[in-house]
Amino acid sequence: MSRPLVSVSDLTIHFRTDEGLVTAVDGASFDLRDGEILGLVGESGSGKSVTAKSLMLLNAGNTVYDPKSRITLRDDHNGGDIDVLSLTRERDMKVIRGGAISMIFQEPMASFAPAITIGDQMVEQLLLHTSMSKREASVFSIEMLQRVGISDAPQRFAQYAFELSGGMRQRAMIAMALTTRPKLLIADEPTTALDVTIQAQVLDLMRDLVAEFGMAILFITHDLGVIAQTADRVAVMYLGEIVETGTVRQVIRSPAHPYTKGLLNALPRLDDLTSTLTPVAGDIPSPLERPSGCVFHTRCPEIIRGRCDVEVPPLTSLGKGHDVSCFAVSASKKDSRSETPGEVIS
């Protein structure tokens, strides 16, 4: 297998705040290969966005990256690797930002400049990142708008963001992110602000574009249904830690971590209207009061007292790329090797 496009290892991010150092991400590791869609799932406050932004060094000035953290980006032009976290000069970062990596956000209205036309914004980044002339850039941008399914593209090109509907804005955002042919697209809750019918259209479009452009996508969402329909692999985050990773089928069909199981049980399902919804007990702790030991032990129904609240569980492999960090799972695995851990869903 070829080298992964992006490799994140032991990513640990703290923020300096008035209340002291707050840990946002703690020891997250994952790889992303070309053309792969990795879903990053978790509640708000779990560190998904901070993780994604660190790939482009977009976190605020009070961010402290732990010295052992490493993010490497395969550099196809020069054949080596780019050590992202070591970049300090603006012009080095430009290779990544909008070049190798593009990002689309949850609220497209807030991501477009309100007083500049959609077209001018698309052209501007092409002039920055490519050798196109202004004229070529305009023609190419209009083609991209057409490609993402925007009708009357030349007309839309000359309009402002507020003149477009929510779904159209998100399409324009995707078109803009793809004009520079990024290797990695970071999509931070791209469909959360959209209606279900429009969400379905945008997800379809994104699947098509992966097939056509072959880029990798880091797809951040809190919606496991969206993940099931788009991603190849999933990483479940809780309080800054990746507690379970695996293929979509592994994680959704046979979740191993109690948190993943909890998330799935809390989800209202259309195929079973009579079942009651089981919330994950308790509230997500404040990042200022990070629990000792396993971060989930304060809400965990399978807690092993004296162990989970003291030691940090290591990531254990369940085979075939399915990893989980939980003492209860590794204990039951030793007890009965034949049984598959976790419940199997339909």
Binding site: T197, G225, V226, G262, A266, L267, P268, I284
Partner: protein
Amino acid sequence: MTDKPLITIRDLSVHFPIGGGLFGNKAVVRAVNKVSLDIPAGTFFGLVGESGSGNTTLVRAILKAVPITGGHVEYNDDGVHYDLSPLSAKDLKEYRKRCQLIFQDPYAALSPRMTVRDIIAEPLEVMKLTSSRAETDERVREIAAKCRLNLEHLRRYPHAFSGGQRQRISIARALVCNPRFLVADECVAALDVSIQADILNLLKAFQDELGLTFLFISHDLSVVAHTCDKVAVMYLGQIVEIAATKTLFRTPRHPYTKALLSAIPLLDPDAEHTSIKLEGEIPSPSNPPSGCKFHTRCAFARDKCRVDEPSLIGKGDNHFVACHFADELMGEAGRAGTA
């Protein structure tokens, strides 16, 4: 329906003027257009639709928070009767004691300068429902306990709470004046799934315990499917389908309902994409299509749909649908129907 419904809506219209020419040539947005609806007492009634469908305007009209252009809204509860169109200011105050609203965003709905106790006590004080501070405090403590808020939380400010806890504070505030009818406008949309289930269970418990009637607006059909007893689907200011929840999700009849159902991303990664994909977006309510408002996006639209506006017709079993070809389309069952 044998009992008299708690809320009876007949031909309700809410139009907003836009622009407005100098010479009377005024354009209007028909946010809600001739809606008729009954909300039976004690039900959890769901209202579903894309943004721009007019569902928020409809509930605001029910609470008389927007001017009603035409039609009637009536409230009937144990001999208490209000007709909203000619409601006096005094009656409106009385009416609002009975009808309360839970908002979507628990971060914006609570004043950051008030303690939780003051937030929950405010309706009691404004409506002069209690006569002494001690009585107010007791009532606040009682309702806080019901919403599973710790008593020590009452002294704190909202910023100290998570989204789920804040929504519980919002619910406590809405319940403190003993309302009979609660409107929840997207009240779980801003919450994480793990918390969402907790809030939904809490609301359902209040429905059973206190016999409350709920009007629940949501764009999330799976949430509606799990909580509501009855559902109405809105599109461009009109109701296109009403049925009991199970009926609606098993045998949706309107093409719009079917499309909405099939747009929900299923948890099964191998689920086939058989969904009826809706093309385009919801048209502007200031310039709605002729005939059936849905014909511009409907895969089954025929000539008749472009001209004739279908009315809501009963199909038995309290299932109402506004589609000329609802019977013919029965064969094309929605995905939830086949599951």
